[in-house]
Symmetry: C2
Subunit: 320 residues, 2 copies
């Protein structure tokens, strides 16, 4: 029984990787640019060169049980990355196969949100849960759904795209998908910034710290959070609005799979109770009786910098 797992998180900008023990401690880690080269073979070579010294530091390849990879549009069934918008590799990339051949190790791959859910299940706040839903509230909204202790993959490996579910009929246009009213259009960092612009325009009489920002691009969810913490009325209203929509969506998810908890993760969760209080209230208001006052909404306790590597590495232990 090998002691360590490699976790690799492929992001649009950086690829982070590390070697993790069974207790969920990252022993060594490093990162490299993802899109430094458009050729996947060069990328794999690069990755190998970066990882080899770390592997040797942990006693060599014999100590490694396998590699787990979290990637946008990663498909667990096929081990491929398919048409990922933020990656420069074209079409369908047989990532698991290529990495497995290069490293001589078994490679499991899934999408980044599923990897995050695995991390919560193996190391995090969902450790003893068989049924939970993980929602990542970052630039976009991702999700990993666990039912009966298993990640829900669906018949084709693409299940769990809760950020794209419609929560406002004919609502805000999602630039990436061209579809109106999806959760991601509202409950992401991008969505919060858009709400800020909208609310400032709709309330021209109301004073706000946010009006000091001259460039719309600088009106980020972080700036809105800081203003709200200083008591800014519009900033607080922005999080209320976002939490309200998020909570209504959570109610829908609860009535689908009746999870024990919903685990929230990602940049937006820094807003804490500003987001949680309205989300909780809206969720309960939209649940029918048998679900009320049962489902916990938790914030992930995994350190954000490590969670992606931990989640990816968890794939290795889950497979054993």
């Amino acid at each position: 029984m090998s002691s360590f797992a490699i976790g690799i998180d492929i992001g649009g900008t950086n690829t982070k990787f590390g070697i993790v023990n069974r207790e969920g401690t990252i022993l060594v880690q490093d990162s490299m640019l993802t899109n430094h080269d458009d050729d996947i073979n060069t990328y794999i070579e690069n990755l190998y060169e970066h990882l080899l010294p770390l592997i040797n530091k942990q006693g060599g390849i014999a100590n490694i049980a396998g590699i787990g990879v979290g990637a946008p549009n990663g498909n667990y069934y096929t081990g491929t990355i398919e048409y990922a918008a933020n990656l420069s590799w074209q079409g369908i990339v047989p990532f698991a196969k290529l990495a497995s051949e290069k490293f001589g190790l078994p490679v499991q791959l899934t999408n980044d949100a599923n990897a995050a859910a695995m991390g919560e299940m193996i190391y995090g706040c969902a450790k003893d849960m068989e049924d939970f839903i993980m929602i990542t509230l970052g630039t976009g909204v991702g999700s990993g759904i666990v039912i009966n202790g298993q990640i829900v993959l669906g018949h084709d490996g693409f299940a769990g795209e809760l950020g794209h579910t419609i929560i406002r009929h004919n609502g805000r246009m999602h630039k990436g998908t061209g579809i109106r009213g999806s959760l991601e259009s509202y409950a992401s960092a991008t969505g919060v910034a858009e709400t800020a612009i909208k609310m400032l325009a709709e309330n021209p009489q109301t004073d706000s710290l946010l009006r000091q920002i001259n460039d719309e691009k600088l009106l980020t969810s972080k700036v809105v959070y800081e203003a709200a913490m200083q008591g800014d009325a519009i900033a607080k209203k922005i999080f209320e609005y976002t939490g309200d929509i998020l909570g209504e969506a959570l109610a829908n998810f609860v009535m689908f799979s009746s999870p024990e908890a919903i685990v929230l993760f990602g940049g937006l969760t820094k807003a804490g109770n500003l987001l949680l209080a309205p989300a909780q209230k809206a969720m309960e208001a939209h649940l029918v009786q048998c679900f009320k006052n049962k489902v916990k909404i938790l914030f992930s306790e995994l350190p954000e910098a490590d969670a992606a590597i931990l989640g990816a590495s968890a794939l290795v232990w889950k497979k054993e």
Copy 2:
């Protein structure tokens, strides 16, 4: 290995029951009133008296593998029926335990929509599927979700209440739950009737066969269907509106669990393509790329009169 299973379907008015073989043929069946007596023990006695002659006809109790029960608010984990609005038994009824003691047979119980999904999986059009969603479009909207070949029950046994998910924010009030905008408020027989009243009022200039109905209570989904089949413009518009909302909801369900198919069942499906065409169109329009043109929408092929008994009996074989 016993050859037969008993299937019992407890409805608000009638309880239907039958003895089913492994191929899904109902060999004998009968029914009785459900709410004839408020006392659950009397009900069980009654059920036993009705079933005993059927059991004896099939060679006695030794030939029966077990009993499967579908009931509103039935909980698979506990075998109880909990606070069912349409049944006269109060509170939490330990139905499986009482029936098992009386019959001397193992009893499995679940809610009626889950039983219907089991029926499709064991005998029906979802026979070879590991991942599908069954939606029953009757007086209300029920659902049974199958993932990895298992009914999704959730952490407490109440999963799969898709009829109560919100599809129109601040939409139509649901009289039973007091919540606005749920799928059931639109895509049920009750919802279609309400849409009919609304559309007739909103289009006073448009002639319609439906205007000949003087009593709103007689303006049922069946009447609307018959008018639509005669080319009535408003009646057709009612189904378009209903199908459009249903399809948008189906897209949300698909992006949750990525099923191979959605199986529709119940009275409203008699509308056939009048409902299916707009539903399919709206579903595809709201799906992000990776789900498009993949998910089949099927109508159940099980005879409606038998499906509830078959579904309940399927619980017995699934448990073996």
